[in-house]
C-alpha cells in the first residue's frame, strides 16, 4: 500500500518535472519570486517598519504586484527590533520558504544577526534602511546591497555642511549605544571644530537636565542624533526651554522626518538637517511617489518609505533587464551593480561595496503652503558622497 502510494507520487512528480522541462525557461518565469520581508513593525520603533513596508508595498502596487514581469510572493515578518526574533524569522524563511531575496531591515543589529544565514543560503539581501559599517567594509558580500546609506554617512553629511558654514563649535548629543557612537565617529571625520560630547541613555524621555546643562555652556550650535520618539521629545523640549531661536539646531539625515515632524509641530521650525531625500524633492519620480503615497496612506511619506520604495523599484528594473531570471545569480548580481532606475533621489549608483554613492542635500524645517511642517530642500551639501569603509571591502567574484 505504502509502496504503491510512493510510486504514484513518484510518477506524478516525474511527469510534472517532464512537463516543466518541456516548457523550459517559460515555466520558470511563471513560478513566483519569493521575498522575505523582515522589518520592525511593532514596539516603540514600529512606525519605522510601517513606513518601510508601506513604501515597498506602494512600489509593488505600481508594478501590479510583479517584479521583472514575474509574480512575487512576499512573506512578512516582524522582528520587533530584536536580533533573536529576526534570526528565528530568517531561519524559517531561508529553510522552509526558500526565499530568494530578503529585505525590510530597519535596525543594523538585527541585520548583522541574520546576514550570515541568508547569505550562506545563497539568497540576496537588499537593505532598505540598515547600513552597518561591517557589511560596507571587511564583511562586504556579492549578494548584499544597501539601497539606503551607510550608517555613518547620515552624520558625515551634516558634518560636511557644518564645516562649510564654519560653525566654530558644536554640542553633540546622542543615545549611548553603538549607533550613537558611530555618529560621533562620522562627525569627527569631517568636522574639525570643538565638540562637546554628551551621551544619554537609550529611550530617554525627558531631557530637561541635559538642556539646562547645554544652556549653561552656551554652544555655537547643537547637533543631535535622536531617532524615533527620542528626537520628538528632544526637539520639543529644546524649543520649550526657549532655545529654538537662540542656538542653531542641526541633526543627521533621516533622524527628524515625517514620522516625527507632525508630532513636533512648530517646535521643529528652523531645524537644519542633511538628507538624501526629502518630501520637498523636485524630480519626477519623487513627485509621483509623494503624491501616490499621500493618496494611498493619507500622510506625507518619510525617508524610510522613500528608500524602501526605491528598493522595490530597483528590483523591478534589475529583474526586467534580465527577464525575471533571478535563478541566474551571477547575472542578477551584475545587473544590480549597474542598475538603471528612476530613483526618488535623482541620481543613484552603487559603489564597489554595493553601498550607494549619492548626493546629500541640506534641508530646513518650514511650513508649506498647506500649513504642514516639512523639511524644505535648501541646496546641495556633498556630491557623490561615499562611505569611509569602501577601501576595506574586497568584493568576492561570486
Amino acid at each position: 500500500m505504502i509502496i504503491e502510494k510512493t510510486a504514484t507520487r513518484n510518477w506524478l512528480v516525474g511527469s510534472l518535472i517532464a512537463a516543466l522541462t518541456s516548457l523550459g525557461a517559460h515555466a520558470q518565469s511563471q513560478s513566483p519570486i519569493k521575498i522575505g520581508f523582515v522589518s520592525t513593525l511593532s514596539g516603540p520603533s514600529g512606525v519605522l517598519g510601517q513606513e518601510v513596508s508601506d513604501g515597498f508595498k506602494l512600489a509593488l502596487k505600481k508594478s501590479n504586484g510583479l517584479l521583472g514581469g514575474r509574480v512575487v510572493q512576499v512573506t512578512y515578518g516582524d522582528d520587533k527590533g530584536a536580533p533573536d526574533v529576526g534570526r528565528q524569522l530568517v531561519d524559517k524563511m531561508v529553510e522552509s520558504d526558500g526565499v530568494q531575496i530578503v529585505t525590510g531591515f530597519v535596525f543594523s543589529n538585527v541585520l548583522l544577526a541574520v546576514s550570515k544565514p541568508i547569505l550562506d543560503s545563497g539568497a540576496f539581501i537588499i537593505s532598505p534602511v540598515a547600513g552597518p559599517s561591517q557589511l560596507a567594509g571587511k564583511q562586504c558580500h556579492p549578494h548584499f546591497f544597501s539601497v539606503a546609506w551607510q550608517n555613518d554617512t547620515i552624520t558625515e553629511s551634516i558634518a560636511v555642511e557644518m564645516a562649510k558654514q564654519k560653525v566654530p563649535n558644536t554640542y553633540f548629543m546622542a543615545p549611548n549605544y553603538p549607533g550613537g557612537r558611530d555618529q560621533l565617529a562620522g562627525l569627527k571625520r569631517y568636522y574639525k571644530g570643538d565638540i562637546t560630547e554628551v551621551f544619554t541613555s537609550f529611550g530617554q524621555l525627558d531631557y530637561s537636565a541635559e538642556i539646562a546643562a547645554l544652556r549653561a555652556k552656551n554652544p555655537a550650535s547643537v547637533l543631535f542624533f535622536y531617532p524615533g520618539g527620542m528626537g520628538i521629545n528632544f526637539v520639543k523640549q529644546f524649543a520649550q526651554a526657549g532655545l529654538q531661536s537662540k542656538i542653531p539646531l542641526y541633526t543627521s539625515a533621516n533622524t527628524i522626518d515625517q514620522t516625527a515632524l507632525p508630532a513636533i509641530g512648530d517646535a521643529a521650525l528652523g531645524l537644519s538637517s542633511s538628507a538624501l531625500w526629502s518630501e520637498g524633492f523636485d524630480n519626477a519620480a519623487s513627485k509621483e511617489f509623494t503624491a501616490e503615497f499621500e493618496k494611498e496612506y493619507k500622510r506625507v511619506p518619510s525617508g524610510f518609505a522613500a528608500t524602501a520604495y526605491d528598493a522595490a523599484r530597483i528590483l523591478d528594473a534589475t529583474l526586467t533587464s534580465i527577464h525575471g531570471n533571478i535563478e541566474d545569480k551571477k547575472a542578477f548580481r551584475t545587473a544590480m551593480e549597474s542598475a538603471k532606475f528612476e530613483s526618488v533621489r535623482g541620481r543613484f549608483k552603487f559603489n564597489s561595496n554595493h553601498f550607494p554613492i549619492q548626493n546629500f542635500y541640506l534641508t530646513k524645517v518650514e511650513k508649506n503652503a498647506k500649513g504642514e511642517v516639512v523639511a524644505a530642500v535648501k541646496g546641495l551639501i556633498d556630491e557623490d558622497h561615499t562611505d569611509a569603509y569602501v577601501g576595506e571591502c574586497k568584493m568576492a567574484a561570486e
Partner: protein, 290 residues
C-alpha cells in the same frame, strides 16, 4: 556648577520626581492592598496621554483634554479591574505578571489600530508656554513649574485623603492587614475598585501632563512604568509616604547623575541606589505590612 544651574537642575529633579510619584501612588496602593502586580499601569498612563491629545486636538481646549484624559484613564482602570484583573487577586504573582504583561501587548496593538503608528502631539496651553525667571538669566518654563506644583498639590491632597478621611482609613487598614479589615466589615470589593480608579486617574494625570513635553506614542508608558516600580519597591510596598520620598529622591538623583556622571554610570545610578537600599532595608524605606 553655578548656584543658578544647581537650582534649575534641582527643580528639574523635583518635577521629574512628582511625575514619578503620580505613577507610583496607584501602583503602590494596588500592590499593597490587593497584593497585585499591575503592569498595565504604564498602559493607563499612555491611555491618558492619547485620549487627552485626541480631545485637545479636536476641541482646541487643553482643559477638556486634561479632564477627558484623566477620566478616560480612570474608566479604563475600572474596566480592567472589573473584567479581568479582579480574577487574579488570589493568583500567584507570576500569573499576575503574565496577564498584565499580555494586556500591555494587546493594548499596544489596539492603540496602533486606533491611532496609527505615527506619534501624536499635544499642544501646550498658550497661557502656560512662557517662562519665569527663577534667577537672573535663567528662565524656567512655566509649564514645568505648573507640573511641579500640581504634583505637589496632588501629593498633599492624597496625604490628607489617606491619613485623615474614613476612606483613607479603610485604605490604610486594607494596606496593613487585608483579612482583618475585611473581617471588620470593610467593603473590600468597593474599596479595591475605588483604589484602582483613583490610582488609574493619577497615572492618567501623569500621562496627560507629560503629553505636551514628550511624544505621545505607543510604548511611552514602559520606561515610566519601570521607574515607578523602582519607586514602589524602594519606598516600601503600600506606603504612600514612602512612594513620595522615594520618587523625589530618584527624580533628583537621576537628574544630577545624568549631568554630572558619564552616560553609562548616570543611567545606572538609580538602580545602584535601589540595590543599596534593598540591601540595607529589604522591605523598602517604609514598611507597611506588619
Amino acid at each position: 556648577m553655578t548656584v543658578a544651574l544647581f537650582v534649575e537642575q534641582l527643580m528639574n529633579g523635583v518635577q521629574f520626581g512628582v511625575t514619578l510619584f503620580l505613577m507610583s501612588a496607584g501602583l503602590t496602593l494596588v500592590f499593597g492592598i490587593m497584593n497585585m502586580i499591575n503592569l498595565t499601569h504604564g498602559t493607563i498612563y499612555m491611555a491618558g496621554a492619547f485620549v487627552a491629545a485626541t480631545v485637545a486636538h479636536a476641541t482646541g481646549s487643553f482643559l477638556l483634554g486634561l479632564v477627558s484624559g484623566v477620566s478616560g484613564a480612570a474608566l479604563l482602570g475600572l474596566g480592567l479591574e472589573a473584567v479581568i484583573l479582579r480574577r487574579f487577586y488570589a493568583r500567584s504573582h507570576l500569573d499576575q505578571v503574565l496577564v498584565t504583561f499580555g494586556l500591555i501587548l494587546v493594548f499596544s496593538d489596539l492603540f496602533r489600530m486606533i491611532w496609527g503608528p505615527v506619534a501624536l502631539s499635544m499642544p501646550m496651553p498658550q497661557a502656560l508656554s512662557g517662562f519665569v525667571a527663577i534667577f537672573p538669566g535663567v528662565d524656567y518654563p512655566v509649564y514645568r513649574l505648573v507640573i511641579l506644583l500640581a504634583g505637589l498639590a496632588v501629593a498633599v491632597a492624597l496625604y490628607f485623603l489617606v491619613s485623615h478621611s474614613r476612606a483613607g482609613m479603610w485604605v490604610r487598614a486594607g494596606s496593613s492587614d487585608r483579612q482583618t479589615a475585611q473581617a471588620l466589615g470593610v467593603n473590600v470589593r468597593l474599596l479595591f475598585g475605588g483604589v484602582f480608579a483613583v490610582g488609574s486617574a493619577f497615572a492618567g494625570l501623569a500621562g496627560v501632563m507629560a503629553a505636551p513635553l514628550t511624544a505621545v506614542q505607543i510604548g511611552m508608558g514602559d520606561p515610566v512604568l519601570i521607574l515607578a516600580l523602582v519607586v514602589t519597591v524602594v519606598g516600601g510596598v503600600g506606603s504612600i509616604r514612602g512612594a513620595f520620598l522615594a520618587a523625589l529622591m530618584i527624580g533628583i538623583i537621576d537628574t544630577f547623575g545624568r549631568v554630572l556622571l558619564p552616560a553609562a554610570l548616570g543611567s545606572m545610578l538609580i538602580f545602584i541606589l535601589m540595590a543599596v537600599i534593598l540591601a540595607l532595608r529589604p522591605r523598602g524605606l517604609f514598611v507597611v505590612h506588619g
